[in-house]
Symmetry: C2
Subunit: 222 residues, 2 copies
């Protein structure tokens, strides 16, 4: 009798062990978060129509001469930007690309809260989209002083970082060799969000302390 029970006990132990392993593996699969976006885009981008990204119904109606239905680095970049549903923070040295400007304006018209930090020298040149954005009611702030605000990054909905060597210009997109990283990695995203918020305060015109030459002073470490 005791031998039979011993066999039963050992069998029960083995079954329990197997079931617990199965249960843990199942729980691990269920609880594993979806894969974090980590994408790299290289430029120059192939030339292709991007009208359908702004207006999905135009996919079969656009008559422009560019190839249609082709996914490119630039179309991926546009799609990531247009995925914003609540906020878009831009910290861009040079911003003159009209498709990217159109994307930002489209988000503004959807109610997305947009903040733009750009370089004061580039903001003043012909072709800069700074004026267009300001006219649409978007808050644009510029650095002060003699140094460059040379960042080229965007934060979408506080969840997606877009950063790299690419300025938001036509030459950068269509001619230069450039790169962009698109990532949700929190260890990378968080510092950029903090830096944007820091610079947004530093370059708030309401915080400027005018000196005798009417140039606002700011943190000397910048």
């Amino acid at each position: 009798m005791s031998v039979v029970w011993t066999v039963k006990a050992v069998s029960l132990g083995l079954v329990t062990f197997s079931l617990s392993v199965e249960l843990l593996c199942w729980l691990r699969r269920r609880l594993r978060p979806r894969k974090t976006i980590n994408e790299v885009l290289f430029f120059p981008s192939e030339m292709a129509c991007v009208e359908h990204i702004f207006n999905p119904t135009s996919r079969f109606t656009c008559l422009c001469q560019l190839p249609h239905g082709v996914e490119t680095s630039f179309s991926r970049l546009l799609s990531h930007i247009l995925s914003a549903s609540s906020s878009l923070d831009l910290c861009i040295f040079a911003f003159s690309n009209m498709d990217l400007s159109r994307a930002v304006l489209a988000l503004k018209s959807k109610g997305v809260i947009i903040r733009v930090l750009t370089d004061k020298d580039y903001a003043a040149i012909k072709g800069s989209q700074t004026g267009v954005l300001r006219k649409a009611g978007i808050c644009v702030r510029c650095n002060v002083g003699s140094v460059y605000m040379h960042h080229k990054f965007a934060v979408v909905d506080g969840r997606l970082l877009i950063t790299g060597s690419l300025n938001w210009t036509l030459t950068a997109v269509q001619a230069n060799m450039e790169n962009i990283i698109v990532t949700e990695e929190p260890d990378l995203l968080r510092p950029f969000m903090e830096e944007f918020n820091r610079l947004w305060v530093v370059y708030d015109p309401a915080q400027y302390h005018c000196s005798s030459d009417q140039r606002p002073s700011h943190n000397s470490s910048l």
Copy 2:
């Protein structure tokens, strides 16, 4: 008797379950890889002595006027570059910073295999380190054509990616607002390694097909 054995069997089952959970948790901890490096550095960097990074024994002997023993964005960048033990691939638009050049030369003297891709226009300007690197026996290749090779990235030992807005110049390090990502994330690292290897072949002078104006032709997608 059977009640006693039932209790024993259930107890054995519970103990087996607990032990198997413990075992799996222990295995998970043991097998978990060390945390992947994901670091963001912002510039301008504070000014501090970096002599000890090149020569650790100088920590207490350097007499320069800069602060000593301070970790800065630039000292972190230098340390990451100097961590190379087998290879260093540089794809840098503007390279004139003499401390960074010194770091690359130090690696060369240790036997690290170094490849440098840089922009042909910037390589020709006064202060560019291209000539210094070539004189030291480092292979430096430049793009051809009228577009910019605007990347600013490095791959250390095929394991660590350094990329961002920062050109390797004194102004970028000490004055501009810039950023660098330092990451081991394979999904980010791999595309940059592949792009470097692709460009290295494209801009191999031995592969150039000279046209009538003696300008090498290359992939039209660049």
